[in-house]
């Protein structure tokens, strides 16, 4: 220690002449652009999926109904309400937000005398910082709390798959399925959109937990045809998947298929897993017309309740449209058999090659049984009724598809034109492509539809895959005439379609006559929709029924017609698709049970 040590500290006095560092007006000073301040939420973008609530470690977020936000498919109608008596401003809720609607602003001053005031619904309760732009947003790039991209499904290559009717989708492996299931945020928005209201997050959780048997039980709660649905469902759930808002939606359909595929095709095993080994018979009988999805579904749920079920099938095998309308490459027969065999094992009796109305009347069924369910589906093709459409080389897609399955001879020409833009049109297009490939070694099909590319009703992947297989798809043209030369079909004349519906939303297509094209073809296949065949209803029965628009039988919410013993469901009432049929069948089964147990 020396004298220097006494004087050196005084050098700090040099600071006296420096400018002060004090901030003149610190209150309300702008925070950094990335600052994590108070919440704001774009409630029009938010879908109320509740992932913010799930990730909040402080239980600061509640989901509450908000006035003016309607609960609808894809939107729960709930919005997050945040308790600032809990929040720690970690912004995990922002980072996981599926819609990117929840953000933090860089506002940070909130002083109040009332402790109960610190609870608010961002976006609904107006706050001064709602208009602020700066603040914490989800970091970029490659910063995700759940997988953004779908695990790709392995498929046969286009050249390979067009060779045969072998199923080309390979299905997920265990690792792939678990990786895909891991992407689920378990919000449950999809459940409301699914016509059968399947417990989607629950069975996806079962995949994560590697508990396939539990997954199977969850599937069978609402859907007795998982193998079928896992392949050909129209997966409306995936359209509303919250993971899909920013990223690929979850492959819910493939995951369902994965669960069903893991259980071997063994009815004893099924019975063991689903606890259906011995069901008590309740001595009541129900007849079911048809063996399509709605019929099978109602048969299954009625069997569980102990009813004796007899099913009547016009064709030699069960499955209805699923077997006779959907090509094998999409839905192989062993998958159909697997689901149906289990339902049959519950004691369901299927009478094949019996046409109700011809071999047995509906009235007879009524007398022999306590109730009747009819799920007869749409098996009649609709015609375009354009000039030339009555030619023998103009076919209906349903008929051809059925013939392919039954093994009847199918006419295959070198050049084929298909009219229609739905999934059935794609099915026949791709089936014909396979037949052409087998017969001529090349594919030459033109498919045209009234709807333009963006509003084609067919699934996107169907269109893409059809093109991969060599089919030409030219949407947006309306057929005008089947051109016939020398008694032979030579092509289809079409006009460019400008609009399909008029301002009253009625079907009234408008064409641009100057844009005319001719699609060459030796045969034309019409696939513009199907009609129902209700010929099994006798005149007396028809009198007792009410009919709605387009010849549909009117039923109540439980698919009961005005004849209380007759229930109807499936494509003839709703749809057309498999999952609606399953949902109808389930609902009708419960209604039949209620109806028959009213006296109880």
């Amino acid at each position: 220690m020396n004298i220097k040590d006494v004087f050196t500290p005084f050098t700090t006095w040099s600071k006296v002449v420096k400018d002060p560092v004090t901030i003149k007006n610190p209150i309300g000073r702008e925070a950094a652009p990335r600052y994590r301040g108070f919440h704001k939420n774009d409630i029009d973008v938010c879908i109320g999926c509740g992932t913010c609530e799930a990730i909040c470690e402080n239980q600061a977020i509640d989901l509450v109904p908000v006035e003016g936000i309607e609960t609808k498919s894809g939107d729960s109608g709930l919005r997050p309400r945040i308790d600032y008596g809990r929040c720690c401003w970690c912004a995990l809720c922002v980072d996981i937000c599926t819609t990117n609607s929840l953000n933090l602003t860089n506002e940070y001053t909130w002083v109040d005398t009332d402790p109960d005031a610190f609870i608010f619904t961002p976006g609904v309760d107006k706050k001064s910082w709602d208009t602020k732009e700066e603040g914490w947003k989800k970091p970029v790039p490659n910063y995700h709390f759940y997988g953004q991209t779908r695990v790709p499904m392995e498929e046969l290559h286009a050249e390979e798959r067009v060779e045969s009717f072998v199923e080309f989708v390979k299905g997920y492996s265990k690792k792939q399925a678990e990786e895909e299931a891991d992407r689920c945020v378990a919000c449950g928005i999809c459940t409301a959109t699914c016509p059968a209201h399947m417990g989607i997050p629950d069975y996806i959780a079962a995949i994560r937990n590697e508990d396939m048997e539990e997954g199977m039980r969850i599937l069978y709660d609402t859907n007795p045809l998982p193998e079928i649905c896992g392949r050909i469902c129209t997966h409306k759930c995936e359209d509303v998947c919250s993971v899909g808002v920013n990223g690929d939606p979850l492959s819910i359909r493939w995951l369902k298929r994965y669960i069903a595929d893991q259980i071997p095709a063994d009815v004893d095993k099924y019975n063991e897993i689903l606890y259906t080994k011995d069901i008590k018979n309740n001595n009541k009988k129900v007849a079911i017309i048809g063996t399509g999805p709605s019929s099978l579904s109602s048969a299954y749920y009625l069997s569980l309740l102990g009813y004796k079920i007899t099913m009547y099938e016009k064709l030699p095998q069960a499955g209805g449209m699923m077997r006779y309308g959907i090509p094998e490459y999409r839905l192989p027969y062993d998958a159909i058999d697997k689901d149906i065999d289990y339902i049959v094992s519950l004691g369901v009796d299927i009478k094949y090659n019996v046409t109700v109305g011809k071999d047995i009347t509906l009235e007879q069924l009524h007398e022999e049984n306590d109730a009747v369910f009819a799920g007869t589906g749409l098996h009649l093709g609709r015609s375009t009724r354009i000039p030339g459409s009555d030619h023998e080389n103009v076919y209906q897609s349903v008929d051809l598809l059925r013939d392919i399955v039954t093994g009847a001879e199918v006419p295959v020409e070198r050049k084929v034109v298909v009219i229609g833009g739905g999934n059935v049109a794609m099915d026949i297009t791709r089936s014909m492509a396979r037949l052409q490939k087998a017969k001529y070694g090349e594919v030459n099909i033109i498919t045209t539809s009234l709807e333009s590319e963006d509003i084609m009703p067919a699934d996107r992947e169907e269109v893409v895959e059809a093109r991969e297989e060599g089919c030409t798809i030219i949407p947006g043209y309306g057929p005008q005439e089947v051109m016939i030369e020398n008694g032979k079909v030579v092509g289809l004349r079409v006009w460019k379609c400008l609009s399909i519906f008029d301002e009253n939303h009625n079907f009234n297509p408008k064409f641009d006559e100057s844009d005319e094209r001719v699609f060459e073809g030796d045969m034309v296949i019409e696939s513009i929709g199907q009609g129902m065949d209700l010929s099994y209803l006798s005149e007396d029965t028809k009198k007792g029924l009410e009919f709605g628009p387009r010849g549909r039988v009117q039923t109540n919410d439980n698919f009961q017609t005005s004849l209380p013993w007759l229930f109807m469901g499936g494509d003839i009432i709703q749809g057309p698709d498999v999952i609606h049929g399953i949902a109808n069948g389930h609902r009708a089964a419960m209604a039949i049970d209620d109806f028959l147990n009213q006296g109880r």
Partner: protein, 242 residues
């Protein structure tokens, strides 16, 4: 009495209190042996009964103080609002923002705010976040030792509804159950700027004559005490620490 006798007596009493302490501990009464009611010998040899917890403090309940008349009260309120002396007791993590507040950058001194080392000189208490039960006991003692009128600022989520420690066995959830709070400031933790805004709000309240929480404490004293005693199991202190 000779010195020897006194020593003997002391020894005897010590043994006795040690026995008591042993038996008391097993029943979990939480009173430290030194705080127990006992007899002591005065320098002159006489024996005095003492109860350290109650003898050294006033156990008297606090009373409401009526405001003065009109202009006088207004003047007093102005004076109070411009001299907020904060007790330097950082109870939780929010106190890390108090040094920046008090140093040149945010310089709270220019607003009449300063820290004091003892409750006897302070009139504002910053509860800077979570309060464990152990600290709450000290906070209550400190708060009660502050002269009226006194104000409480509560920082952060923790004081409002438990914050991120809502499920902790050790921290309280709602400060307003145990102490009357004037101003809440949201944040985890609030920035110094937000803290200053809170002080401005407090000044406003005082000027309007609404800074009457000390009277509220006196008015609802029994209720507050009941809540405090419910969670502070080892209540080895007087009921009011004045």
């Amino acid at each position: 009495m000779s010195e020897l006798d006194i020593n003997d007596k002391v020894k005897e009493m010590l043994e006795k209190s040690a026995e008591n302490a042993g038996s008391k501990n097993s029943e979990k009464t939480f009173v430290h042996p030194e705080d127990e009611e006992r007899e002591v010998i005065a320098p002159d040899g006489s024996i005095i009964k003492v109860n350290p917890i109650y003898d050294y403090f006033s156990g008297k309940k606090p009373t409401e103080e009526k405001p003065s008349n009109g202009v006088v009260e207004k003047f007093l309120n102005w004076a109070r609002s411009e001299s907020i002396w904060v007790l330097g007791f950082g109870t939780g993590c929010g106190s890390i923002e108090i040094p920046p507040l008090m140093t040149p950058r945010f310089d709270a001194f220019r607003f009449g705010i300063q820290m004091r080392p003892t409750p006897r000189q302070s009139n504002a208490f910053i509860i800077s976040g979570y309060l464990s039960v152990k600290t709450l006991k000290r906070v209550i003692r400190s708060y009660e030792q502050m002269p009226s009128p006194k104000y409480v600022l509560a920082l952060g989520s923790c004081t409002i509804n438990g914050g991120m420690y809502y499920d902790s066995y050790s921290t309280i959830n709602r400060l307003d159950k145990y102490l009357p709070v004037d101003v809440y400031i949201a944040g985890c933790m609030p920035r110094p700027e937000a803290l200053l805004a809170g002080f401005m709000k407090l000044k406003e309240l005082i000027k309007e004559g609404k800074g009457e929480k000390a009277n509220e404490y006196a008015r609802n004293f029994d209720e507050y005490k009941a809540n405090q005693k419910k969670i502070i199991k080892d209540w080895n202190m007087p009921d009011y620490n004045w």
